[in-house]
């Protein structure tokens, strides 16, 4: 069972988190063309190895996180807040 180091709450069991989706997806503008939306919604890299993914600390601070994880070994390399400004502020205070 993996543990994820939430920037706010510290190292917590995986059971407190929910997996979101692959984190490298960039969603197009709401009025973008159908193809770019199709790519963002349906095309997945399904990486064998290291990938960024989103998780939510559902049973904790409810932050959405960007987790860099190896899908083979489950090793976690980094955890950041998905909200870019919040992540910056956290860096300043620590």
């Amino acid at each position: 069972m993996i543990q994820i180091e939430c920037p706010f709450c510290g190292k917590r069991d995986q059971s407190e988190f929910s997996y979101g989706r692959e984190g490298q997806i960039t969603f197009p503008a709401l009025n973008a063309d159908e193809n770019s939306w199709y790519d963002a919604v349906f095309l997945r890299k399904n990486t064998y190895g290291r990938q960024i993914e989103t998780w939510q600390h559902t049973h904790g601070c409810r932050s959405w996180l960007l987790v860099e994880r190896d899908t083979v070994t489950h090793k976690i390399f980094s955890v950041k807040l998905a909200h870019t400004d919040w992540q910056k502020q956290i860096k300043k205070t620590t």
């Binding site: 159908e34 932050s63 959405w64 909200h83």
Partner: protein, 992 residues
Amino acid sequence: MNPLRKKNQFRADNVEENVIFFFWNNKKYFANKGDSIAAGLLANNQHVIGRSFKYHRPRGIMSAGVEEAGALVTIGNGAYTEANVRATTTELTQGLSVYSQNAWPSVKFDIGSILNVLGRFFAAGFYYKMFMGIPPFEWGRGTKIWMFFEHFIRKAAGLGQSSRLPDPDCYEHMHTHTDVLVIGTGPAGLQAAISAAKEGKDVLIVEQDYAIGGSYLSQPDTVELETQIEVLKQLQVTILTRTTAFGLYDDKTVGLVQVMPAKEYKTSSKKPRQQFNICRAEKIILATGAIERSYAFINNDLPGIMSVSSARTYLNRYNLLLSKNIVISTNNDSAYETAIELENAGATITILDAREQIGNKLLQQIAGLRINLYLGSGVVKAEKGLNTSSIGKIKLVEFANNKWRYAGNLYCDCLLISAGWSPVIHLASHQGYPINWNEENACFLSSGDNKSIFLIGSARGIWTKAGCIQSAKEIFQYNSRKKHKPSTVIGGWETPLAPIYEICLHNIKGKAFVDPQHDVTSSDIRLAYQEGFISVEHMKRYTTLGMATDQGKMGNIIGLALMAEALNCSISEVGVTRFRPPYTSISLGALAGRNRQSHFKPIRRTPFNNFSIQNRGVMINAGLWHRPWYYPMESESLEAAYIREATVTRRSLGICDVSSLGKIIIQGPDSTEFINRVYTNPFAKLPVGKARYGIMLRDDGLVFDDGTTWRLSENCYLMTTTTDNASSVMARLEELLQVRWPDLSVQVTSVTDQWGGCALAGPNSRNLLTKIIDDPSEISNESLPFMGIKQVLMQNVPCYVARISFSGELGYEIYIPSDYAQSMMEFIWENGQKFECCLYGLEALGTMRIEKGHLTNAEIDGRVTIQDIGLSKMASSNKDYIGKVLKNREKLTDSDRPQLVGIFPKDKNKTFKAGALLNEAGYSNGHPLGWVTSVTFSPALGHWIALGFITGGLAYVKDKNIVLSDELRSNFLDVEIVSPQMYDPEGLRLHG
């Protein structure tokens, strides 16, 4: 064989207080304290313990440990029954009831053993071939032969039966964190724990047995063991016995299950029977030992045939000499130590060593003892003795000119086998650490990662005690963060072993077992090869090798070796299947812990819960929520109650608990923009004090959720969601704000639990509201128009009132702070008595919404578009919102997609159920035209009605005869497809 209890100066004597009684198949026997069930049975000369899985062959005790494949028993009675317990690892306690398994009518005479005679048909792939009608079962093809046999086969195959009664015990979960976890208490494990503790580490050491010591327990004296335990205690190391490390998981997590001693959990019901312990450690040391292997020869499953090391355990740990006359068949040095000890205890020994020569040291050790040594020999067949189901005679072979040849018979009632050792690398395999075949020692080895997961002792393939202890010391002799490079030598025998996996001669026939627990024979493996199932994964599934409760601890390697031989390749090329947790079976109760029955998932009660119960509300589970279903008067049925409730509401007034709807406060300067992007319909111009019904799509353009959103002030909204989607909408909004649109300055907060929601519906709802609101002028038709919202005072408590309606009647929802909910509801209900008034539950709520064609999750099931549910007008073309682009995909805009409709039976007396299919009359094959989602009796219309979806919608089926068919209930009727707004389609009643 007739085992003898010996006296042992190091062990408790056979004095009176050490004698306990137990029951074996309801007959009383005596044993010694500390005996395993197997030891107790052997001491009482009980050798046939059960019948085998498929062929019902008599089976006895084959080992003294967790690898046991023969002696599976059922213990306990009634609700305490535990099936498939290994007799070899379970402690006998005073008065314990033990039963044999898989035998009818008795272990001695078993009807199922007729299967043994029909064995040809029961070879690997039997079920599959018979079912498919493949040779030799081609005659059964197309017949119902399988159905005929299935009943019989299902009864015959299988192991013990567990109790059908609820488990009376309780189980607990706990979490442990430690610096070092040592698994196994043999010489290596104890030394590792001592070394770690001396370094100042926090150490936990676990042992699956009920006694500490591992292989120390099988040695003649316990002096060294006692010294080591004393050191451990002084170092304050935590020792857990009866604790199995059943799995190694990510992030250095080990699953432990500790089983409490029988008498302890029975004296106090509050004490857990088992404890499931999730242990996280910085270092995990696997001192899990090795398991002695057998080899395949004919009838190698006869009672009286055991592993060599188990005879040593029975002798030294349980003071039981198995027989006065013992034959040992071995291919390695390890058997000699046992042979000498057995001889010292009074037995005459014959050693058949497969090797053609052995070392001088061994020869010197056995010189002068009653040990006859035959080199280059083995066993090709075992035979039953006269008047017994156990072994009585063996056929010998000798090695000559590079092959085995028959060399005569030998009488013996106890045959011990050692064909090498398999290190217990299961836990390392769970985490996928590399496993390599070691040719010289004929075993698979793993070394963990040598950083935080280590294997030591015989688990690493070290066969000498000194080597095992050295391998443990080594781990703590370095202080760097570098990888540990073990220096202790693998192996350690004077003469290397001579690998044997099977001995067979073409002219001697019979069954040679590879996996005795699942009755997999060596010819099954060859059959798998012949039929092309040559990959290990295929072979495993085709033959079921290693899939029984012992997970092939003894048999797997023999199977691999036989496949390698058939393929003419090496075992390392055949490979090995990855081991999966659990190492030994663990009870489901332990995994569930306290999370059972009502503790399985939390119950959410609305703030009106007590009020509903006081008013005879019958509750129903809706997701996690406990919601009022209906409020029966006297002995009213559900049907009578909901019809009355809906009727009274439409005629006068009804009050309903709607607290479970999700409520989310959305605040911040960008909240209008945010809501506008989330909903399909425009929210930008929603005035303060008004609510609007909105539809939310997913990214892929399908409908996600619906609900009303109220503008409380310029930058503050209250969004309501469906009960089912409350948490997923919340998580979705958070994702959008944090991941996708961090530039929007918006805060969302769930306030579902902070507010009790109460719906007032019916023509008298405003009249009631007038009586309960402190300033009635605030809720007049003018000051609170349809879809208006307002903060009002009720009994001086600030509440929200919204003029919205799910029932289609003039209606309001009052949101009351949860702490006031109970008293306010009593106040509202008291005032309601001035009118004809009722409480209505979920059933009547459903009835009224179906009559109006309003939607719930029965319709919005994740597969429908906004057009499908008839709300395409709500999809704005003047703004951008989530799902807008992909909702226009080609197949989602087809005009022949199923669309929401209402359904009436043509014969108004007919009833039907949700899930029924809709078709054009005369067409009953292929895909149906549509289906029924929600059904109710409509009090307003006086007959049964439904909502459903039908291809092309109302327009397409206008002139067609539609038939509703419910094949499962044999209900077929003609229906009329109508508009989903079945009652008051103009919405006149809404405005009172």
